[in-house]
């Protein structure tokens, strides 16, 4: 009888520590799960009693790869809680830094973490010898993304200039013009990235699920919007996220599981692509066509391809927003906007590289009293388990090594960020 028994201890080429466990008995799948074994980190407790201008410095340290995402979401929650209104130039600048992180994270995942599986290499290191041009291109694009964050916010891993109320330093027109010229010099590398991923064979797989993302009418939503479910086709205000998203503890994971309108849902690049395809930049839509990615796509393995589409989109949007800033003429002396009150609750939500991220803070007399964070990888865990369960019967006749590789590729496709997922939450679900 064909069976599948896969044990992957500490899955590699992902951020953080997790194990894959899949078992069948008499040809029936009895167990399929991705266990999170990262040490718990307790960020919600750590920010209690902290002031508005220091909270995001702590929450940025949840994750080095999505530091800008946590910083942005944390600042939004603080601004919403305390009634801080930011200027248009601050909003535009934040979006460019945000795109810089998407680019950095997607390039890292698509080239360094996911691509080796598609070409049968254990990591990017042997690729550096076999296909040095590809690795050099990946490094160039990574550097481009880092430059965006460095010029505008000081650095990508734990940005400096982003604060509640705006930025502590604004770029000059000269800096913006030179940044734009630098960015445009990488345009061919962006096209070559699309060509490379279009040439990689993708495992055939489809598992229908619910996709949850931000959505707004003006743009492909990353930095602002309401919560949107592909099941109900309805939006939910950020502050009401608890009416949509429910969380439960599971014994085998130091991260909680989430569900909305069914047992699991997916967040991330593929979910965004499916929910907001119409608002992609035309060049990104052409990239999707070249990658044979069509909305709605239920093949989880295509998440890396959706990331490539977003690389094209974020590249184009960054150029456009830098142009907008140049046109606006940035006020270099703009002070940080002040809070209207010292107590209140606020929610921030952004589409960080791995999907929807929510920070929910309650301030009392200027200090954090309650905090709740919901992390994309935490939201995806239940869907990962459901995907593993769906894939397992399809691979029972394959050799063990191939079964294991496909299971690893499936989880890696989510680009899980495990340090992030282990902070969990203080929640009273009704």
């Amino acid at each position: 009888m064909s069976e599948v028994n896969v044990r992957v201890h500490h899955l590699t080429r992902v951020e953080g520590h997790g194990n894959i466990v899949v078992d069948s008995k008499n040809g029936q799948v009895v167990d399929a799960r991705f266990e999170i074994v990262e040490s718990p980190r307790f960020f919600e407790a750590m920010i209690k009693g902290r002031r508005r201008n220091e909270v995001h410095f702590i929450t940025s340290r949840i994750c080095g790869i999505c530091a800008v995402g946590h910083t942005s979401t944390s600042i939004q929650a603080t601004e919403n809680a305390l009634g801080i209104e930011i200027s248009q130039q601050a909003r535009v600048l934040r979006k460019i830094v945000f795109y810089g992180e998407q680019l950095q994270s997607h390039v890292l995942h698509a080239y360094f973490l996911a691509a080796p599986d598609f070409v049968g290499a254990p990591s990017v290191i042997p690729l550096a010898a076999k296909a040095p041009e590809i690795v050099k291109r990946a490094l160039r694009l990574k550097k481009m993304a880092n430059r965006l964050c460095e010029v505008l916010a000081g650095r990508h891993v734990h940005p400096i200039a982003m604060m509640p109320g705006g930025f502590t330093k604004y770029p000059t027109t000269k800096e913006l013009k030179s940044l734009k010229a630098e960015l445009l010099s990488y345009s061919d590398d962006v096209d070559e990235t699309v060509k490379l991923f279009a040439s990689l064979p993708v495992p055939d797989f489809a598992h229908e699920t619910e996709f949850i993302t931000l959505k707004n009418s003006k743009e492909y939503a990353f930095y602002e919007g309401d919560l949107y479910s592909s099941d109900t086709k309805k939006t939910t205000r950020q502050i009401d996220y608890r009416t949509l998203i429910k969380e439960t503890m599971v014994d085998y994971s130091t991260s909680k599981h989430c569900h909305a309108n069914r047992d699991s849902y997916m967040v991330g690049a593929l979910a965004r692509f499916n929910n907001n395809f119409e608002l992609l930049h035309p060049r990104a839509r052409r990239a999707a066509e070249a990658l044979k990615l069509k909305s709605v796509c239920y093949n989880t393995f295509m998440n890396s391809h959706a990331q490539v589409v977003e690389i094209v989109h974020c590249f184009e949007e960054s150029v456009a927003l830098i142009d907008l800033l140049i046109e606006m003429t940035v006020d270099l002396n703009e002070p940080l906007a002040e809070p209207a009150r010292l107590s209140g609750r606020g929610v921030g939500a952004c589409e960080v590289p791995r999907g929807l991220l929510i920070h929910d803070y309650t301030y009392e007399d200027g200090l954090i009293k309650e905090a709740n964070l919901i992390i994309p990888t935490g939201m995806n865990l239940a869907n990962m388990d459901a995907n593993l369960r769906a894939l397992a019967p399809k691979v029972m006749d394959k050799p063990h090594a191939e079964q294991e590789l496909l299971m690893e590729m499936l989880i890696r496709a989510y680009d899980p960020c495990i340090s992030c997922s282990c902070h969990l939450l203080h929640v009273e679900w009704v």
Partner: protein
Amino acid sequence: MKPKVAFFSFTSCEGCQLMFLNLEDQILDLLGAVEIVNFREAMKEVLSDEYDVAFIEGSVTRDSDAEEVKELRKRSKIVIAFGACAVIGGVNAIKNFQPLDDVRKYVYGDKWQTYETAVTRSLEDVIKCDGRIYGCPPDRKEILEVVTSLLTGKKPNIPDYPVCVECRLAENVCVFDKGLVCPGPVTRAGCGAICPSFGNKCIGCRGLVSDPNTNAEKDLLAERGLTVEDILKEFRMFDGLSEVSK
């Protein structure tokens, strides 16, 4: 033979390892000079269980992790504490200032006993380390300085003077003169005073210089009307394990 190098992470954001990967202009040369034998975040292959140099990121927050760290020490000729969490405890030590069981209950509710945790320790609280890379995140230049020093057998040049020195060289307006408080006068330089250079204050992520004038710093802060609790919070963000934070 090329030196065998490995990267490991414990309780951390893995940003230090990302800073290593962010050496985009040097990484291919580095890969030519060393053999990376274990780097879970970036590679699947495990090429050796013994290391000439192990870079270990993160604090130790579980007793089981302490055992693992000790095992890595046995298998490594040189251990480098990589980044603030490993060197001084970093943000992970913030939780030490609340009763541990309260922290666990706040985050995990009635299942709080399911998940193992302990009081946060730095890597050097658990094992002897041969070198340090400071900062949250570490500066690229310092990573390169330590790596090239290891390859050439020289002692790395790491500053032991306050951030203020670099801040003045950068011609920044003093943070205190902007009416803000700043741990810069007692924090170890080496970052190029990047935070004040981007209009913010120093956040003390590189820890104290080895002979800090902490009383003067506390007086400086108190003169500006801050309470002892406010002042302690400045130090407790990254350097909660040090005497001054107690």
